[in-house]
């Protein structure tokens, strides 16, 4: 035992143990996220339970556990929110008389009210109405959904036109407000033209709204009636069906297709049902854009500051104090940065911008409210210390002989910096940058007060002039997790989406970091100095 201690074994063991604890925790976290997130889109079998009290319950089994009396019970997602009120129910195992898996059961993903589970009873459309025979019903439903397509297209076109009109109206109104702000005469030619334009736009708007109403009526003529397990009927408009499938009839191939389809939806579609269903595209877009904008600020600022501190600043007390301050910045709670961003960027700079450039829109703020620009500036501030420290360290680790060699050949300090020191320091700087990026991508708290929203009506980049709308509010995966996990009215139903979003956020951070790591390794190989 004494020998064991003398050889320093306990210390080795302790270090090994610490490492294994860290690895275990990381693996555990990833396991929980992956295990719960990866299967969300896989179609589950629908089970029909006949209970001892005569009730029939239909749904997906989501959980099995033992209750306080050691009796197993099942959690069933029963959907049909308009009938049941709740999406989930618990059934005790002893209450179940029999289980069956009827093949005719449908799962309908709807625009509203969540999933519907049941059997198809009637299909109504202007062309055909079918009320019996599963085979005919299914084909009639398919045909009706096909015939619906042109109407759905019209609906989309109308809403797009309404969007464009709204924007045009807003522009006219802003101009008008601008003229009126300058106390221009109401009979001025410019104002009269604008008022005319406004009336014209409003007429167009009314026509479009009428068209929309008609379209809605036409769409309403297509509907299907479904029956729940206990015989209740529910009418579903075909236009509200997002997806419908018969999980008990699906083969492996069909299931894979379904999974892929849902995955594509996740990446390209907008969220539905207060974010618990549908895609994550705006949040993915917002997250990536936020990190890129943040990098644009924090990278140059951090690198330049680091260069000054290491290369040019006269070493002394001041530099030491600055260095300590910079290092401490990294330890400030992120919410404090958020508050600073709110006070300095939004109310200070944003408010001033509004005063100078958009006074006619006040009191409606343009830049004086949260937006992706302010959020990314705040994050930039938050991550800049990491980049500064990394730059300083990287420059400091270059042997002095390289500087001497360059200066002795008649290079200026600036030439030495740009031609040798910066390239040689780049792998180290990149490392800091990777850390900064990973931190920024995972921050939520400062965003909540600088411009992130639950549901953004439009993206920060779109086809409307001037294309980049940096004052717009945005969605973010991290906030999305918080929002659907803790703020959703239907937390249980949102749970799968929490895991999916988490998994996605981890994957995005991982892939952005991988790109940076790849670049760093290339630089490292290129600028390594031989260590003889």
């Amino acid at each position: 035992m004494k020998k064991f201690v003398r050889r320093g074994e306990p210390f080795v063991w302790a270090t090994g143990m610490t490492l294994s604890i860290i690895i275990t925790m990381t693996v555990l976290l990833l396991y929980v996220v992956i295990a719960n997130g990866i299967g969300v889109f896989w179609p589950q079998k629908l089970v029909q339970l006949s209970l001892n009290d005569g009730r029939v319950v239909l749904g997906e089994i989501t959980k099995e556990e033992k209750d306080g009396n050691n009796v197993s019970r099942l959690q069933l997602k029963i959907g049909n929110r308009e009938i049941n009120g709740l999406d989930f129910t618990w059934i005790s195992e002893p209450d179940i008389r029999s289980r069956s898996y009827p093949a005719d059961l449908y799962v309908i993903e709807r625009q509203e009210n969540g999933n519907f589970y049941g059997t198809l009873a009637e299909v109504h459309s202007p062309e055909i109405t079918v009320a019996e025979g599963q085979g005919t019903l299914v084909s009639a439903l398919g045909k009706a959904r096909h015939n619906l397509q042109p109407l759905l297209m019209t609906k989309q076109q109308i809403s797009r036109k309404i969007g464009a009109l709204n924007l045009a109206l807003e522009k006219v109104n802003q101009k008008l407000a601008g003229y009126r702000y300058q106390h221009m005469d109401e009979k001025d030619k410019r104002i009269i033209t604008l008022v005319d334009a406004e009336t014209k736009l409003k007429t167009q708007f009314a026509t479009l709204v009428d068209g929309g109403k008609q379209n809605t009526e036409e769409l309403a003529a297509y509907y299907a009636i479904f029956k729940t397990a206990d015989g209740k009927e529910s009418t579903v408009r075909l236009a509200d069906m997002v997806r419908l499938y018969q999980p008990n009839r699906m083969g492996l191939f069909a299931k894979i297709r379904h999974y892929a389809d849902k995955l594509v939806e996740l990446f390209i579609a907008d969220p539905r049902e207060s974010n618990t269903e549908g895609g994550l595209f705006p949040a993915i877009f917002g997250t990536v854009m936020l990190v890129l904008l943040m990098s644009l600020l924090s990278f140059p600022l951090g690198v330049i500051t680091g260069i000054y501190l290491r290369e040019y600043a006269h070493p002394g007390v001041t530099v030491k104090i600055v260095r300590i301050a910079v290092n401490n910045l990294a330890g400030i709670p992120s919410i404090v940065y958020g508050i600073f961003g709110l006070g300095f960027f939004i109310y200070g700079i944003g408010g001033a911008l509004d005063q100078f450039f958009f006074p006619e829109r006040l009191p409606t703020p343009t830049f004086g409210t949260g937006g992706i620009l302010w959020a990314s500036l705040t994050l930039g501030l938050l991550t800049v210390p990491v980049v500064i420290v990394a730059t300083e360290e990287a420059l400091g680790s270059i042997p002095p002989s390289i500087r001497e060699g360059s200066l002795a050949l008649g290079a200026t300090r600036f030439q030495t910096l740009t031609r040798l020191l910066l390239p040689m320091a780049s792998p180290g700087i990149m490392t800091g940058f990777i850390l900064a990026m990973a931190r920024a991508a995972g921050e939520v708290a400062p965003l909540m007060i600088t411009g992130v929203v639950k549901l953004a009506p439009s993206l920060p980049i779109d086809g409307q002039f001037p294309y980049f709308h940096l004052n717009r509010k945005f969605m973010h995966l991290g906030f999305h997790i918080y929002d659907i996990g803790f703020q959703s009215p239907n937390v249980e139903a949102a749970k799968p989406m929490v895991y999916v979003t988490t998994l996605l956020l981890i994957l995005i951070v991982l892939s952005m970091c991988s790109v940076a790591i790849y670049l760093r390794n290339k630089m490292r190989a290129r600028y390594a100095i031989a260590d003889v």
Partner: protein, 262 residues
């Protein structure tokens, strides 16, 4: 020239004149009034025990000491009658005229080609033919051309220590300096590489003024025309190498070169 009885020899065709040079690191005096001339296009070796100020001394010639803030210098160094510590002197220009090879080879993490033309690149030379020519000429002079002509665009980091040091010499030659300072260029090399560098120095003399600091007395005897012996910041003896090694005037010199001291 014949052996002279004076410990500090007078040089007729000198390129560098040093007059009463004092150098202080903060409060301590590292060079204590050195006056000597460096002969043009000859190899001058500076020998002496560690810490005697040899390296500090040659770093005065290309003003590398400017980088150290605590250093103060008084006295005068002229190169071709121009005071290099005069305010009008362009340090960049001076360093192009006075090249330097360091104790530890320090090739840049670039290709062999880029290493050689680094001095030209920063001087703004863009002419591809001139650059190619310079690379070939400099590498040939540094006796590297045959080994490296097929690997010009590979990283210099793949070379051996001796090759790297010769590359550093080629890099210094490429800007056509008048003077090349060598600060113990062989101290980190094995004997074979050392003898190659020594051969190279012999070949370069006659075209360049070379000032070499060395700890190795045999090396000084082999490669130099003139030798200066330094001791604690003072120039003790300076003369033709043959004379200094065979019949030193000062007792300290004799003790040092015979190995009784140092």
């Amino acid at each position: 020239m014949t052996a002279q009885a004076t410990p500090i020899m007078q040089i007729t065709d000198a390129i560098v004149e040093v007059k009463d040079l004092h150098l202080y690191y903060g409060d301590s005096e590292a060079l204590r009034g050195i006056t000597m001339s460096i002969p043009r296009k000859k190899v001058t070796a500076l020998i002496g025990p560690s810490g005697c100020g040899k390296s500090t001394f040659i770093r005065c010639f290309n003003r590398m000491n400017d980088l150290i803030e605590s250093i103060r210098i008084s006295g005068e160094i002229t190169i071709d009658d121009q005071d290099i510590y005069d305010n009008s002197v362009d340090v960049i220009e001076l360093r192009r005229r006075v090249g330097m090879v360091f104790q530890k080879w320090n090739p840049f993490p670039k290709s062999i080609y880029e290493n050689v033309i680094y001095g030209l690149r920063i001087a703004g030379v863009r002419d591809k033919n001139l650059l190619d020519e310079t690379v070939e000429k400099s590498l040939k002079r540094a006796a590297l051309w045959d080994e490296m002509k097929d690997r010009l665009h590979e990283s210099a980091m793949g070379m051996s220590g001796g090759q790297m040091q010769r590359l550093c010499i080629a890099r210094a030659i490429a800007v056509s300096p008048e003077i090349i300072l060598m600060d113990e260029p062989c101290s980190a090399l094995d004997p074979r590489s050392t003898s190659r560098i020594e051969e190279l120095i012999r070949e370069l003399q006659g075209d360049y003024t070379i000032i070499i600091v060395t700890h190795n007395m045999q090396q000084a005897a082999r490669v130099s025309d003139f030798t200066a012996y330094f001791y604690i910041g003072e120039l003790v003896e300076f003369g033709l190498t043959k004379r200094v090694f065979t019949s030193p005037v000062r007792k300290e010199t004799e003790d040092y070169i015979t190995g009784r001291f140092g």
